[in-house]
C-alpha cells in the first residue's frame, strides 16, 4: 500500500457524486471557485446576489460557484471459469485472485479519497452487485464479496455490463477487470453505452504469462475451461503461430479501447498489484 500513498484516482471528466468531495463537478455549489453569473429569478437565495454588479448595472445577478463532488467508481470483476488459470509450469496466483487483489487495492484508493465504490461480480450474468457507497464498511463488503468469489461458468461481459449500466445512478469511473477472452460486439456496445454517458472506462486485462507464450511443456492436451473442446499439440511447434494470434488479439482490444477513449492496461499475474496500479494512474495523469 506504500506504493499507493501519493496516488489518486482522478476522473477524466467531472464528478457527479451526491456528496461533496475533492473532484470538480458540473454542479454549481458553494465552493470558493467562481464559475459564472446568472440573472436573478424569484426564489433564488438573495445571499448570492452580487451587489457590486447591481450597483453598476442596476440589475440583479447571482454569483455562481462550482460545486466539488465525490466520485462514483464501479468495479466490475470477471469471475468466469477462464479466470481460474494459474499456470502449468510457471505457477502464479490464479487470474481471479490477481483480479481480486487489483480490485481491493483500487477500492482502497477510492474510499481513501472519500469517493463511492461499487462492485459487480460477473460471469455469464450479473452475479453480485454492491451499489456504490463511500464508507469503510463498503470496503469490507467488497473484500468479502471478492473473497467468496469462485471462478466458474462462461463469460458474457456485454450482457453483464448492460445490467450494471441499468443499475448505475450517476456517472463516474467504470473499471472492468477481466481477461477479455470472450469480448464481442455486444461488449463493445456496452462500453459505448458507458462512454456515451460520459463514464470514464478503464479496462484492466489480467493475463497469465503462459497465456502469452504457451506453457513450456513438450506436449499438451489443451482443454477449454469454459467448454468441452480439447486440442492436442506440441507447444514448441505451434508457439510462434499462437503468439502471433494472441498479439493480434491484444492489439485488437487495445485499438478498440483507443477508438473509444478508454484506458486499457495489461496486468500480468506476476506483477505486484499496487505497483501496477501506481503505474496505471501515473500513466493516466500524464495522458499516456
Amino acid at each position: 500500500m506504500e506504493a499507493l500513498r501519493n496516488v489518486r484516482l482522478r476522473p477524466r471528466g467531472t464528478a457527479e457524486g451526491a456528496f461533496a468531495g475533492p473532484h470538480k463537478s458540473h454542479f454549481r455549489g458553494t465552493a470558493v471557485e467562481f464559475a459564472d453569473y446568472r440573472e436573478y429569478s424569484p426564489g433564488d437565495d438573495i445571499r448570492q446576489v452580487d451587489w457590486k454588479v447591481f450597483a453598476r448595472t442596476d440589475r440583479h445577478y447571482l454569483r455562481l460557484y462550482d460545486a466539488e463532488r465525490n466520485l462514483l467508481t464501479y468495479l466490475v470483476v470477471d469471475k468466469s471459469g477462464s479466470m481460474e488459470y494459474s499456470g502449468v509450469v510457471a505457477r502464479t496466483p490464479a487470474k481471479l485472485e490477481h483480479a481480486a487483489r487489483l480490485a481491493a487495492a483500487l477500492g482502497y484508493l477510492v474510499l481513501r479519497e472519500g469517493d463511492e465504490l461499487g462492485l459487480s461480480l460477473v460471469d455469464a450474468r450479473l452475479h453480485q452487485h454492491l451499489p456504490a457507497a463511500a464508507s469503510w464498511a463498503q470496503l469490507n463488503r467488497v473484500l468479502e464479496s471478492l473473497d467468496h468469489a469462485r471462478a466458474e461458468g462462461k463469460t458474457d461481459l456485454g450482457a453483464c455490463l448492460e445490467q450494471v449500466f441499468a443499475q448505475t445512478r450517476r456517472r463516474g469511473v467504470l473499471a472492468v477487470i477481466s481477461d477479455f477472452l470472450e469480448v464481442d460486439e455486444r461488449f463493445w456496445r456496452a462500453v459505448d453505452l458507458f462512454r456515451s454517458s460520459r463514464f470514464d472506462v478503464i479496462l484492466l486485462q489480467v493475463v497469465h504469462p503462459e497465456e502469452l507464450e504457451l506453457p513450456a511443456v513438450a506436449a499438451a492436451r489443451f482443454v477449454d475451461p469454459e467448454g468441452d473442446g480439447h486440442f492436442q499439440a506440441e507447444p514448441d511447434q505451434v508457439r510462434a503461430l499462437y503468439r502471433r494470434r494472441f498479439d493480434a488479439f491484444l492489439t485488437g482490444i487495445k485499438g478498440n479501447c483507443q477508438a473509444r477513449g478508454c484506458d486499457w492496461f495489461l496486468a500480468r499475474t506476476t506483477d505486484d498489484p499496487c505497483g501496477f496500479l501506481r503505474h496505471c494512474f501515473l500513466a493516466r495523469e500524464h495522458g499516456k
Binding site: L181, E226, E234, A240
Partner: protein
C-alpha cells in the same frame, strides 16, 4: 523380383533397421499433459491447420528415414537384378544345392566365415524356390553327402538341416559332389554351387555336368590371406633312442606379400622356434633337430600364429621311438670269410656296438633263421650266397608287405633266388656281365643319396654285374645304373614296406667298392631312406584309416580323438601288432590308443594341405557341360550376362534421402515467425 540375387545376402538382416526410426519416434514421442487453457479458442484458430501440417511433416520425415535405412541395408547387401530375359525362364522345380563344407570354408574374411556366407546364400536360394519344387542339399567334403537321401519337397526340413550344417576339416571333392548332384537330379534341374572355388580343388573339374544348368555362387572373389604349415615329417619316421633326428616342416605363404613367420615346435620334451621368411605364394622348409631319450609313443605339433584360417596353422606329429633298429643280416658265408659280401656289410653297418648305438645287428645263416627273429626284425639284409627256406621266404615277404624293410645284395649265381615274385621286384636278372676294367655307375637324375653326390660314384669301378632291364613304368625306382642301362640300385615300395635291390659286387674280386668310404656311407643312407615312412602324415579328416598298435599288453584297446571322445574301432588283425580299422577322422589332432589306461600308440591326423591354398579359380575358365547354361551369380566379379548390379542407384538414393532429410529439417526449424510487440 524373381531371380533377384544379393552379393551379401546376410547383410539383409540390416532390413530390421528399417523399424529403427519408428522405434525411436515411438520412444521419444511426447506424452501430452492435460492443460485447461483459457485462450483455447485462440490456440485452435491459430494452430488447427498447422497441426495437420506438423503431423504431415513428422510422417514425411519418418518415411524418409525408414527409406534411408532400407536403402542402406539394400546397398550393403548389393542386390543384382536378373537379366531382362531371365524373367521368362520358367520357375525351377528340381534343384540341387552344393554347399562347399571343406576346410577352406572355415576361413574368416571380413569377420565372417566363408561357410556362413555360403550357408546364408544357399538358405536364401532354398527359400526363393517356388512352391512344389523339389530340392536336395549336398555338403561337399572329402565324400559328398546329401542332407536328405533324395530330392525332397519338404523344403522347410531341408532348410532346417542346411542352417544346422557345419563346415568340416576335410578336403573338398567338387567333382564327386557334382557327380552326386547329377545323379540325384537324374538329367533335369539346376545345380547351385556355393563355394570359395579354390583353384587347388576346382582345377580338377574339367567340365561341369552336361544337360544341367549350373549357377555358381562364389562367396569370395579374392584369396583369403592365409599362412599354413602344409607338411611336417619326422626323419627318420621311426627314430630310435639317442639317434639324431629332425622335424622338417613346410610353411606356405598364401598371401600376396612377403612374410616372416615364427614356427614353433612342441614335441615331447622339445619346444623350439624357428624363423622362416617366405616370398608371396611360396613355400619354405624349416627343420628342427631333435633326439629322443626315451622309447615309446611321442606326439606333438608344429604351429604358426593364428590367422584367417586357423585350422591349418597347426600340424600334428606322432611317432613311436624305438629302443634300437633290429637288422637281420642273412648270409650263408662264414663270419670270417673276407671274400663274402656279408663280411663287409656287417662291419660297415655295425663296426662295434658303440659305433652304431641305434642298430642291433644280428647275423644268421639261412638255416639258422628262427621265426621269432624274423617276426621282430625291422630290416632284413640278404647277402649272397643265401639259400632261404620256403618258410623263411614267406615270412620275410609277408613282413615286408606289412611294412618291414628289405635290402638284397645281388651278386653271384644265387642272386636270382633273392628276387621273390611276391614282392614284385622292379627288375629281372638276365645274365652276368664281366668287365675286367670295371664298369662305372651313375646316380639317376633328381635322386639324392644323402650327402653322396654323383661325382663320388664316378671313381668306382665294378668288374661284374647282373644285366637287367627295368620296365619303363618303373624307371623312377632306379637310383644307380650302369652304362648299359642295367639297374645297379633300386628302391621300390613293396606293399606297405620298402625294398632295396643292390646289383653291385661288394667283394674285393668284384671291385674296390668294399674298401671305399662310400660303401658304409651308402649303406647307412639306404637305411635312412628305408626308414622313411611313405604313409607319414597321410591320415586326413574324412577318410577311413587303419592304425597299428603293439599287441603285447592285456585288456581292451580304446581309441580316443583329440577332443577326448571315444572312437569306435574294429580289430582287423591281431598278433605281434594289432591292426585297427577306424572310421573317418572327424577332426585333426592326435588320436591316442590306450590299453588299460596305458598309452600304447598315437597317430596324427592332419588337414589336407590343398585346402591351405585359398586362391580361387577364374570361374570364367570353367567349361560348362553340353546343353548346360552356366551362370555366375553375385560374388562381385562376374554377374550373369545382362544382370544389373544396382548399388550405384541405391547409393544415389541414400544420398538423396539424406539430403532431403537435412533440407526439410533446416527449412522447418528456421521457419519461425517474429513476435509482434504489444505495448501495454
Amino acid at each position: 523380383m524373381s531371380g533377384l540375387a544379393f552379393t551379401n545376402p546376410w547383410l539383409l538382416a540390416g532390413l530390421a533397421a528399417v523399424g529403427l526410426p519408428l522405434l525411436i519416434h515411438w520412444l521419444t514421442r511426447a506424452r501430452p499433459r492435460r492443460v485447461a487453457f483459457p485462450p483455447y479458442k485462440m490456440l485452435v484458430e491459430a494452430c488447427a491447420g498447422q497441426q495437420a501440417v506438423n503431423r504431415l511433416r513428422t510422417l514425411l520425415l519418418l518415411v524418409i528415414r525408414c527409406l534411408l535405412m532400407l536403402a542402406l541395408a539394400l546397398l550393403f547387401a548389393r542386390p543384382i537384378f536378373p537379366a531382362p530375359g531371365a524373367a521368362n525362364v520358367p520357375p525351377v522345380r528340381r534343384v540341387a544345392l552344393i554347399l562347399d563344407a571343406s576346410l577352406s570354408m572355415r576361413a574368416v574374411q571380413a569377420s565372417v566365415p566363408l561357410f556362413a556366407r555360403a550357408q546364408a546364400e544357399a538358405a536364401d536360394a532354398l527359400r526363393s524356390l517356388p512352391a512344389g519344387s523339389v530340392a536336395t542339399v549336398i555338403l561337399e567334403g572329402a565324400t559328398p553327402r546329401s542332407l536328405l537321401p533324395a530330392l525332397s519337397e519338404n523344403l522347410p526340413a531341408l532348410h532346417d538341416l542346411l542352417v544346422r550344417s557345419q563346415a568340416t576339416y576335410e578336403c573338398g571333392d567338387p567333382a564327386a559332389a557334382l557327380a552326386l548332384a547329377q545323379k540325384t537330379l537324374a538329367g533335369s534341374g539346376v545345380i547351385h554351387v556355393f563355394s570359395d572355388f579354390q583353384k587347388s580343388n576346382w582345377e580338377g573339374v574339367r567340365e561341369l555336368p552336361a544337360g544341367l544348368a549350373c549357377q555358381l555362387h562364389p562367396v569370395t572373389t579374392e584369396a583369403v590371406d592365409n599362412m599354413a604349415i602344409t607338411a611336417a615329417r619326422l626323419a627318420p619316421a621311426a627314430p630310435v633312442m639317442g639317434e639324431p633326428a629332425e622335424v622338417v616342416c613346410t610353411v606356405f605363404n598364401c598371401t600376396p606379400r612377403p612374410r616372416e613367420e615364427t614356427v614353433r615346435l612342441e614335441l615331447g620334451e622339445f619346444t623350439r622356434e624357428n624363423r622362416v621368411t617366405l616370398p608371396p605364394f611360396s613355400t619354405a622348409d624349416t627343420a628342427f633337430d631333435v633326439s629322443f631319450s626315451h622309447a615309446g609313443p611321442v606326439a606333438g605339433h608344429v604351429s604358426l600364429e593364428p590367422d584367417n584360417l586357423t585350422e591349418d596353422n597347426t600340424r600334428y606329429l606322432a611317432a613311436n621311438v624305438g629302443k634300437a633298429l633290429s637288422v637281420v643280416l642273412v648270409s650263408d658265408a662264414e663270419d670270417t670269410d673276407w671274400q663274402s659280401a656279408a663280411f663287409y656289410i656287417g662291419r660297415a653297418l655295425a663296426p662295434s656296438p658303440q659305433a652304431a648305438p641305434g642298430i642291433n645287428l644280428v647275423r644268421r645263416r639261412s638255416q639258422d633263421l628262427d621265426r621269432g627273429l624274423l617276426e621282430t626284425a625291422d630290416v632284413f639284409c640278404l647277402a649272397t650266397p643265401a639259400t632261404l627256406s620256403g618258410e623263411a621266404q614267406e615270412v620275410i615277404a609277408r613282413r615286408v608287405l606289412e611294412g618291414a624293410r628289405l635290402i638284397s645284395f645281388l651278386d653271384g649265381p644265387t642272386a636270382p633266388a633273392l628276387l621273390w615274385p611276391a614282392l614284385n621286384p622292379p627288375l629281372a636278372l638276365e645274365r652276368t656281365v664281366t668287365t675286367p676294367t670295371g664298369d662305372a655307375v651313375a646316380l639317376a637324375a633328381q635322386k639324392k643319396l644323402g650327402e653322396l653326390e654323383a661325382a663320388d660314384f664316378s671313381a668306382l669301378r665294378f668288374r661284374r654285374h647282373w644285366q637287367n632291364r627295368p620296365p619303363d613304368n618303373r624307371a623312377q625306382e632306379t637310383w644307380l645304373a650302369y652304362a648299359d642301362g642295367s639297374a645297379a640300385l633300386t628302391l621300390s615300395p613293396a606293399g606297405r614296406g620298402l625294398m632295396v635291390l643292390v646289383n653291385l659286387p661288394i667283394t674285393p674280386d668284384g671291385g674296390d667298392f668294399a674298401g671305399s668310404p662310400i660303401f658304409p656311407a651308402l649303406l647307412h643312407e639306404l637305411l635312412r631312406l628305408l626308414r622313411q615312412d611313405p604313409d607319414a602324415n597321410q591320415v586326413l579328416p574324412g577318410a577311413a584309416w587303419t592304425l597299428e598298435v603293439p599287441g603285447a599288453g592285456e585288456g581292451a584297446l580304446t581309441v580316443s580323438d583329440p577332443a577326448g571322445l571315444a572312437v569306435a574301432s574294429q580289430v582287423l588283425s591281431s598278433g605281434r601288432t594289432i591292426r585297427l580299422a577306424l572310421p573317418p577322422a572327424r577332426i585333426p589332432g592326435i588320436y591316442v590308443v590306450k590299453q588299460a589306461e596305458t598309452l600304447v600308440a598315437d597317430a596324427a591326423v592332419n588337414v589336407d594341405p590343398r585346402e591351405s591354398d585359398t586362391r580361387p579359380l577364374a570361374l570364367e575358365n570353367l567349361k560348362p557341360g553340353a546343353n548346360a547354361p552356366l551362370t555366375i551369380q553375385s560374388g562381385g566379379t562376374a554377374a550373369p550376362p545382362g544382370a544389373r548390379d544396382c548399388w550405384p542407384q541405391l547409393a544415389l538414393a541414400v544420398v538423396i534421402l539424406l539430403g532431403l532429410e537435412m533440407l526439410f529439417l533446416a527449412l522447418w526449424r528456421n521457419h519461425k515467425p517474429k513476435r509482434m510487440e504489444v505495448a501495454s
